[in-house]
Symmetry: C2
């Protein structure tokens, strides 16, 4: 055998090149040749690591959501030992917003995938698989808030969780469109949580 190559590392590098292209020109504007050029490799080499474009797209999506999840996990680790549900929710939500360049790229790519998923049966599964888990996570935090007497018992955890997800998503949209400012978005979410946690 020739020199041994770290296949996964190569695939990740290619996926990151795909993100950059998708971020600048959209997913449909990312041809295999473009991605290869962005990654600094030849088309043949790219095809050596991904036997089809679809395989590359799916890999890049799972890699992306994995990274996002990891970022959130790391941020939550930075909180005080037993973090309050409110802090957990705030930090999670803030991490999902496109407030820095890396997160902006991630969100742009995520949205590109979302739109493709609307017309692509296979991608749809991958695209929405994380939502129920996130919703359950939020609902658990709200339930904990109720148990601690920080949230009114009249609030339905599952409904409030969906509300929070939708709100984050909508604000993400308008942040990307530059219709609203980062400070504004943060303030709106902060106020929303403030009202949820009556303390």
């Amino acid at each position: 055998m020739p020199k041994r190559v770290d296949h996964e590392a190569r695939r990740r590098a290619i996926a990151e090149a795909l993100w950059r292209i998708a971020c600048a020109r959209g997913l449909d504007g990312a041809s295999l040749r473009d991605v290869a050029a962005e990654a600094g490799i030849s088309l043949g080499q790219l095809q050596h690591y991904f036997s089809s474009k679809d395989e590359m797209l799916v890999f890049a999506l799972k890699y992306l959501s994995g990274l996002a999840e990891e970022r959130i996990r790391a941020r939550l680790m930075g909180l005080a030992a037993p973090p309050s549900p409110r802090d957990v929710l705030r930090e999670t939500v803030m991490e999902m917003l496109p407030l820095d360049e890396e997160s902006r790229t991630g969100n742009l790519v995520q949205i590109a995938y979302f739109v493709r998923a609307l017309h692509d049966e296979r991608l749809r599964g991958h695209a929405k698989e994380g939502v129920p888990a996130l919703r359950a996570f939020y609902a658990d935090q709200i339930r904990a808030g109720i148990a601690r007497g920080e949230v009114e018992t009249s609030r339905a955890p599952d409904a409030e969780a969906m509300l929070l997800i939708a709100l984050t998503d909508g604000l993400t949209t308008y942040l990307l469109l530059e219709v609203c400012t980062p400070e504004e978005a943060k303030g709106l979410l902060e106020d929303h949580l403030e009202r949820l946690f009556t303390r």
Copy 2:
């Protein structure tokens, strides 16, 4: 001259064919030939009415948002003579959600345009031009609610308007992905307005 043709009607028919294609396969999957075939005309005929693909895309977008605006206006006309701000907000928001097939198509196409606008300087202008107006409209309704003593004075009209827009948008996303049901979305918005209008 030959048979006189209603140019605008032809252009609208072509735009509607474009919507159907974009709804099923995405905007990038809509080639001129596909659109022509869907409209039941030849490629040459289509090019007679739109000198470039870009012109067709822009026309179809403005036609779409015009129709949506008209639908909302018509729905508001059906309310009692002096409608309460709360009713105005509820009916407007409900009309924007993808709850019937027509609205679902409209929202799918709208999102396809939105994503393209993220990477297309020219389209961006068209895509976000309606947001400030909608926001101002919502804010006015909330201000009216405050004046009538139906909304607490502690609520900031402009912030609440942005919140409502973002929430509607997020729920639209998850409705289209079939992560949440129409009943659930309606309930969430209803409850949100219920909390805003303390009466």
